[in-house]
Symmetry: C2
Subunit: 302 residues, 2 copies
């Protein structure tokens, strides 16, 4: 079965024409949702993917990512965990492409990682469904890394960390990260992971203290400024992992949805905890997850 | 005994003429060390305080704060904990004011809060010596709040947190804090303190997760944006306090070096832990601490 997809995030538009799990054709532009105003989305989609619509009159059309957020084409309300491909397919929101054809926005997911608390994802749910994991833990690194618990093929619950954004904000805007210099010394990553150990188990000195400690080490001449950026990366990644292991328990293995070199950092950091890792390409996971959603969608319409 | 002091920080110059612990006269300007180049410091000091030098030919002159940092007048190397007024007085660094007169830069303090780790302060050591605490825990809130353990009149060790700077950076530069709106709803502070409880004791979900949770609560419609800024303040303050209690143990009482309303937030947050608080004005503590250092300095010179 052929289908058409737009992976439409904050900063990028990526269109794919797919047969089963093979990409037949693709387009890409910088027309992410943050660059668009209300009412512009259909025109962008038709300009990028309209030729596929004509050539494939029966192909389902799916839109995934921030295109379903408040700032996107239409707000697609979050589905609630636990949710699998069927629940997500059933919660898709149609948008009119003209000529009687609809595209379907894949909704994001909401969950309560603990009673009364909130967490959300938008886009990652599709990758997770394509991760190949039916029972286990998936980690999706990035600006806001997500750890996802899957049970019986359903996304049971998940937790998000602001690791990547925190790193960027500290580097660009803080007294802690600004002294960092290049060339970076990658040994700092391990030093940061070791520092994060002081904020786990029975010791809990606090991330805010460990972050200041990086500055203290620099101004007291104990840390070379080339170590600082990898150190902050290691400290934040280590604290994220400590939190995830506390939240979900320590798994025997974790599936990481990332390419090198980012995946390598997680493989190394999780290896310190004796946790095995599988790596899956985010793009492959996206296409596989979309294919599952499409199958449920087509069944529901049949 | 009369003495002359400059409390010379990053953004402000404050000069005082003091008799015992009473301020006889004071000056203030925006000539903080970040506004000055190497070689300008003496001129600034003489223009602001030169008239006191002439009127008080025997008064000791002390400089305290970032004036002793790498970016200041002269780099005054950190003294090492444990240190009391005598050790700090003995580690002061003279700078030449002309006419055979010296000013003395109060050094900052270095300590290892845990073996191999680093922490520093520059300026707060003087307030702590004037806190009136001979055995106990002092908290000095601010951009980089410090918790200080005092034993037998000496600063035994301390830990710094990037709480205030983190709040500012999140508010101004992050997806987490930017949705915050005014008027602020102060109830958010308590919600943030309660969220921080999930990162203490046996639960350790991670500050990076709790920070993202604020965004998740907003985008899922579960938190009013007027609550967000006080929530972040409460979450960060709560996590700082959790870290300090883990590092120093839970004291019966803490002395807070701050004015209202900042002191009130700490009184409230520590009260949740059943910890009593005393509040001391930072300016009074500064003057009292300087008076102690001056007495040791004069004794050493006598």
């Amino acid at each position: 079965m052929r289908f058409i997809v737009a992976d439409w995030g904050t900063t990028r538009f990526r269109g794919y024409l797919i047969e089963h799990e093979t990409i037949l054709d693709e387009v890409s532009s910088k027309e992410g949702v943050s660059a668009l105003k209300s009412g512009q989305h259909r025109d962008v989609f038709m300009r990028q993917c309209g030729h596929w619509l004509e050539a494939e009159p029966d192909a389902p059309v799916l839109l995934v990512g921030m295109v379903g957020s408040r700032e996107g084409w239409v707000m697609a309300p979050y589905a609630t965990c636990p949710a699998g491909p069927e629940e997500i397919a059933n919660a898709m929101i149609p948008v009119d492409l003209g000529n009687g054809r609809n595209a379907y926005i894949v909704p994001g997911l909401f969950c309560e990682p603990a009673p009364g608390t909130s967490d959300v994802m938008r886009g990652e749910e599709t990758l997770v469904l394509g991760s190949g994991v039916e029972d286990g833990i998936v980690c999706s690194p990035g600006t806001h890394p997500k750890w996802i618990e899957i049970k019986g093929g359903q996304i049971e619950r998940f937790a998000t960390y602001m690791t990547g954004e925190m790193y960027a904000v500290l580097r660009e805007h803080s007294m802690i990260g600004r002294p960092a210099t290049e060339p970076e010394d990658p040994k700092g990553f391990n030093l940061g992971l070791a520092a994060a150990d002081r904020n786990s188990g029975t010791s809990h000195v606090g991330l805010l203290h460990l972050l200041f400690g990086a500055r203290a080490a620099v101004v007291s001449g104990r840390m070379d400024t080339g170590l600082l950026a990898p150190y902050l990366s290691g400290l934040l990644t280590g604290d994220e992992i400590n939190g995830a292991l506390s939240q979900f328990g320590k798994p025997a293995s974790v599936t990481i949805l990332a390419e090198s070199p980012r995946a390598d950092l997680y493989i190394h950091a999780l290896g310190r905890h004796g946790i095995a890792t599988q790596v899956r390409s985010p793009q492959e996971a996206l296409i596989a997850g979309l294919a599952r959603i499409v199958r449920h969608h087509s069944r529901a319409k049949a």
